[in-house]
Symmetry: C2
């Protein structure tokens, strides 16, 4: 996990100004254990009194465009989620379709070699992929 100072430094290098809102958003993002939605951040008390929804939205835009965040969308969730773009490689997630809990998987991505093949066959460039697993977690199976 990156440090607050590290994140702020990266923002500064990309020309972002150091504002109350940016500081608050960075701090609260760091507390999140899972990919977070705009509304989730907005509900945090620190954010609540520091900035409004539009500001968070635009900070997400900026952080995504400078490569600090990655935008994610999961099946059957309307709202987008964001997560830190720690290394350039993508992440896999495992989601419970009953309680909506999300965990990041720590598997070496098994799809990279297939991706290379598809790129060659199709002529596509700048390939990337999303791989997400869904199921019912242990807790929810008991109900």
């Amino acid at each position: 996990m990156p440090s607050y100072e590290n994140l702020l430094e990266k923002c500064r290098l990309k020309g972002l100004r150091k504002t109350k809102a940016l500081e608050a958003v960075l701090k609260v993002m760091l507390k999140q254990e899972k990919p977070f939605s705009l509304v989730e951040l907005e509900q945090d008390p620190v954010i609540k009194k520091t900035c409004d929804r539009t500001t968070i939205f635009r900070i997400f835009q900026r952080l995504t465009s400078i490569g600090l965040l990655r935008k994610l969308s999961f099946s059957d969730e309307k709202a987008s989620r964001f997560s830190f773009n720690k290394d350039e490689s993508h992440k896999e997630y495992l989601i419970c379709q009953s309680c909506s809990d999300i965990q990041e998987l720590d598997i070496g991505c098994p799809v990279n070699s297939i991706e290379k093949e598809i790129a060659e066959t199709s002529g596509f460039a700048k390939m990337r992929h999303d791989l997400t697993f869904y199921g019912i977690c242990k807790n929810c199976q008991e109900d």
Copy 2:
């Protein structure tokens, strides 16, 4: 690709009534080469004069709940797409991020064995997964 009669028969077996709207939606869905959105179907002239958006929406709901359609969501597209749920296994897609063209991939899914491992490790049941590839297609690379 299923036949119109076959689809209609499946609907009847599940208790759906044979209505003008259902017939039109089935026919127009069969013409689609890619996963389709509600708005795409709505724009088809046959649909346009037969039923309105709400009706299409509810037919999609019914067809999805009886397992005839599958709901898909792709990163950076707001609207959901649907495709025929031909066999029970999922499909992989390759999407151009420039022109938004979608093609279905005909690869044996490479993730099934990993899925089994994840199920065992996590205790998750009813596992499934989505795998989608993104890139820039040949045509769009020339621009």
